[in-house]
């Protein structure tokens, strides 16, 4: 399934209220719980924080891609969050992260996980598109932007 098919308004959080790395991961995990995508928030947060402990997924240009394999999901699961003010995610360029793509995949679905991450890697190459996304003010607008792209 294409990444764009997974990005629905209920898995988009705009604006994020968190101010720290652990908070934003929890906020997006709770967004997925509220959307009925996961039930065990703690397991998801633990898997994501474990991955972050190996190296931050905060990239350049205000983008972060926290991701993990976890038994807490049965299929590839995505959440998108936007923090116009930015959050310190220990990004490689030291700048605050504003656009978050959170990805979870079951351990036996590495193929779709890699494809989705590769989609995100391509999306993040377009600075103009990312700037437009960061400027979005509602989940519906984010979904629409992905559909139009």
């Amino acid at each position: 399934m294409a990444l764009v098919d997974l990005i629905r308004p209920e898995v988009v959080k705009v604006p994020l209220v968190s101010t720290t790395k652990s908070e934003v991961i929890r906020e997006l995990a709770e967004c997925l719980r509220d959307a009925g995508k996961i039930s065990d928030v703690e397991a998801v947060v633990e898997a994501l924080m474990k991955r972050e402990s190996m190296g931050s997924t905060g990239l350049e240009q205000g983008i972060a891609v926290p991701h993990a394999k976890t038994q807490a999901v049965h299929a590839l699961t995505v959440a998108v969050g936007i923090s116009p003010k930015g959050i310190d995610f220990q990004a490689i360029d030291g700048n605050p992260s504003k656009l978050f793509f959170l990805l979870l995949a079951p351990p036996d679905q590495s193929g779709p996980h890699i494809e989705a991450l590769a989609d995100i890697a391509r999306i993040t190459k377009s600075q103009a598109f990312c700037r437009t996304l960061i400027g979005a003010t509602s989940p519906a607008e984010v979904v629409e932007l992905f559909s139009e792209d």
Partner: protein, 162 residues
Amino acid sequence: MNGPIKKILVYVDGTESSITAAQYAVVLSRTLRAELSALYVVNTRALEDLLKARIFIKAEEEEYKRDLEADANRYLNHVQSLARKKGVAIEAVSVSGAVHQEIKKYVRESEIDLLIIGELSHVRSRRDEFYNEAERAMRSVSCSVLIVKDEDRVWELYDALT
């Protein structure tokens, strides 16, 4: 093997549609008495891109590569089993690289007459169209391409093979 199609290749990526394509390939291979191969491509290009983009760390790249190699074995074994059940000989091949390039290379080097692929996912954006690996392969290979649709009908055809 006197017809126009002597060598068939089915591209298997583990999706349900690619397994349906494999079933149809078995049906066609039996009917046309054509040689059948199944190809799985471990997408190491994507892994390299993720490492380059710093989304992956090195340990992660290696872990996911092992996962994909295990997927290749699992799916190719399944396709081999589908062919064996119908008495069709099949060559199962796993390679690594960029998916569309590896498919194109295999088609050329093995002188494939017909590439069979599963139904393409719905294109939601120009980006999808450009980056869908099966679609890119379809556009770039030198042989004819057959896109398999209607899973139920294919299952009936496969099931009816005695």
